[in-house]
Amino acid sequence: MDVLYSSRPLWAVLVSMIAAFLILATGEKNRNIRESWTIMAALAKFLIVFSMVPVILQGKVIEYTIVTFYPGLLLQFRVDAFGMLFGVIASSLWIATSFYSIGYVRGLNEHAQTRYFFAFAMCLSSTIGIAFSANLLTFLVFYEILTIATYPLVIHKESNEGIMGGRKYLAYTLTAGCVLLFAIAMIYYMTGTLDFKAGGFMTGSGSSTVLIMLFAMLIFGFGVKAGIMPMHEWLPTAMVAPTPVSALLHAVAVVKAGVFGCLRVILYVFGPGLLHDLGIWLIMAYIASFTVVVAGFLALGQDHLKRRLAFSTINNLALIVVGAALLTKSSMTGGIIHMANHAFMKITLFFCAGALHVKMHKDYVSQLDGIGRQMPLTMGAFAIAAIGLSGIPPMSGFISKWFLCLGALEANQIIFLFVFMTSAMLDVAFFFPIIYNSFFKKPLDDVAPHFDEAPMFMVIPLVITALLSIVFGIVPDAFFRFFSLTSLAVQNIMGVG
């Protein structure tokens, strides 16, 4: 594989870190300047990330070494197709979220806005770092930074609930970090390398008991952020954070970093071949399927809109992991492309929830009767994304569900076909009542019967992401080349494994 040495990955990471300190230096007094740093960093980051796509699609990788600690132990970026996919998702959605955030925090007149934007920029920096990590150590470094950078956002409200949510978040993620540290140190001791390699590098490096234990530890460590049951508990609690945080971090960046880690472990550390030999892929798939179904049922019972979305997130993240764990070409394609599709749809849903909160101060599903007449754009976008997540064409969710189902058949595991179907059914069950109530029920007293939308800063981003999820359903390769990147990643993995 051709390697191109370039510092672009480093700049992609640094640009928002620099912006974070500029934000801190600018402060509350010049809020327009402060916000312009965010916007500029978001655009610059996206351009830098996106400028690497053509190179990656030619089958090359971009490499940049930051520092070498020890032979085989270094901080290094290597941009491959899979990392590129995640990088493009995170950086493109940051632009949308930046605009949306400005509308949100100003609409609510939030306190500590400087801290908020600072932490947000740091989060994005570490997310891109995660996406471009060349090895487990670099991954861990950025993963831990992400943990810490998210904390101020989770506790943003500084209410008792927020602080408790923050504590729970730290308890889960820092424990996971310790387990990861141990597992990674162990892998380094056993193999002398930590570099991700398509198809895995662990084959034959230890007895199967040790390998299974290491696999379990790594999946535990990354699974916490990915919300795989029973490590999901922090995620609904963290919904106390402001909605843009939930939108970008708890639907895209942080949880996706967890899923991304799981997939890296499954496909790039252990690899399909080794997992088949160890026979743990099926167990992995069953555990994740359990999460898919149970999270779906739990979502049904939530009246708080954001909590319902949180459980839907858990459900979808587990779907991605099932896709990877089935280890067939189609299921991997489905899982990886679902990272992108889910990101766009779920961020739309959260944006809608935030718009409802800012405009109407409504947080509960039961309060949404007839609200579609007042806020047709918001609820229309909500409907599109919800339908998409249920896997109905022409929305992009259909594409991923289709590949996942194909993958279940390829793996000769019919039971997973039922898991995917049940999940789609549950999606319908917990989303459609919201759509029905908001459009077809008689409005509540405080709902204006005429058009009265949330601030434009919020509505435009959510309309765009909703439209994009239709576009990706019809042309999966549009604009961001998600489909090409996915198939290239799968090709790399299968080519070896």
Binding site: F69, L140, E144, E158
Partner: protein
Amino acid sequence: MADQFAALIIVVPLIASIFVPVIGWWKKRLCYPWVVAVLVIPLISSLSVLNTVMTTGKFSYRLGGWAPPWGIEYMLDHLSAFVLVIVSSISLIVAIYSKKSVEDNLPEKTVPFYTLFLLLVTGLMGIVITGDVFNLFVFLEISALSCYALIAIGEEGAPMATFNYIIIGTIGACFYLLGIGYLYIATGSLNMADLANILPDLYHSKVILVAFAFFTVGLAIKAGLFPMHVWLPDAYCAAPSAVSALIAPLMTKVAAYVMIRIMFTVFQPHFSVEIVPVFVILGWLSVFAIFWGGIKALAQTDLKRMLVYIVVAEVGYIVIGVSVANRMGLTGAILHIMNDAVMMACLFLVVGAVLYKTGTRDIHQLRHLNKKMPFTMAAFTITALSMVGIPPACGFFSKWYLILGTIEAGQWVWAAALLCSSLINAVLFFRVIECAYLKPMEPAYAHNGGETTHEEIQRDEAPLTMLVPIVIMAAGVILLGIFSGKIISSVIQFAVPASF
């Protein structure tokens, strides 16, 4: 010329300490600039020594031109030069910092304070630089005696704490001295290099075994290793801010350095590993130290007391790294000597600054500190994250090598203790961060007065002489993390015994 730097490191602060009373008698306020100016010289000298060692390898300096093994020899290799740089830089930083703290707490005792301060620094650097086990004892006592006096001028309860420290510290020194005596009886030599040559033939002699045991216990007391740590919390906590900031990072680390010196230079590594099971004992003691220190720290509401117990736990980290007795573990231990010195210095400096500005060390009284002292608290947060082991701060990297060492040694419980310790640290420090940065949780701290939180909080940052050292240390925490690979490849890997 270059080789004279070795002597300057000791001679300059020693002589200068005698001049402090003279200067103080003439003009009291000149003591501070004098001490700061004087301490620049050891820093420059030790940097130059480190540079020489890195380019030309280790060398020795014969004090007064007397040839070893009769004369006193200064031994400058990668390990001692490295620790010298740490000691000299941190003592300079603390000296700069001491101005306001001394003016505020000890206006009457400025002159004795600075005299003893220089003596303490001399002692610490002497311990590190010397290549003679008896000379080491002398420096150990210089540093200990000046340290007792410095602690005793601290707050209420300091004399009692010092008394405890004197008793136990003296016992420790006696053990060490007995060890020297036994070695001298058996070999007739006090020079480390000479001893290292003579000893291997005597490894199975009972005298040598007993001497080794005395060394181990004596140094464990000096390092404050559990369960010989009982003197440490009270003494460090009662000391004046500037003193705690100097001794907490350095005293225990220097004792750990001597431990590495005795076990791997004076004795061959294979003696310490194979003939005596000392490392199994020390390793398990460290595990207890980590948990005991962590749990006791959890029970404190006084910020400084909490840090002091963390010092106890951190000693455990270093001794675990020594005890696994392999390359990775010892790399981690030496790296952690540096990292922990910087982190602890930063934390104690912050506590001193907070005490100076707000008059309290109670964790629950720290609210709004992020607005009052934003830079100080930012430094505190960075260091706290480093203690938790969040990369790229330096704490992560020493933890990483320590864990690699325990894995290589197959000591799973030790690895688990290190990991648990980061979680305990997370609880400890996030508790403080929550108190300082966030609104208090409503019912729990309502007794702190129910004033509205919307009042405008004025920025009231620590004076520059305090803030600059704090910020330098915090920057160090990050930079040492990022450049840890460079430090290991250019210095530490040569400091680890070649047989590993």
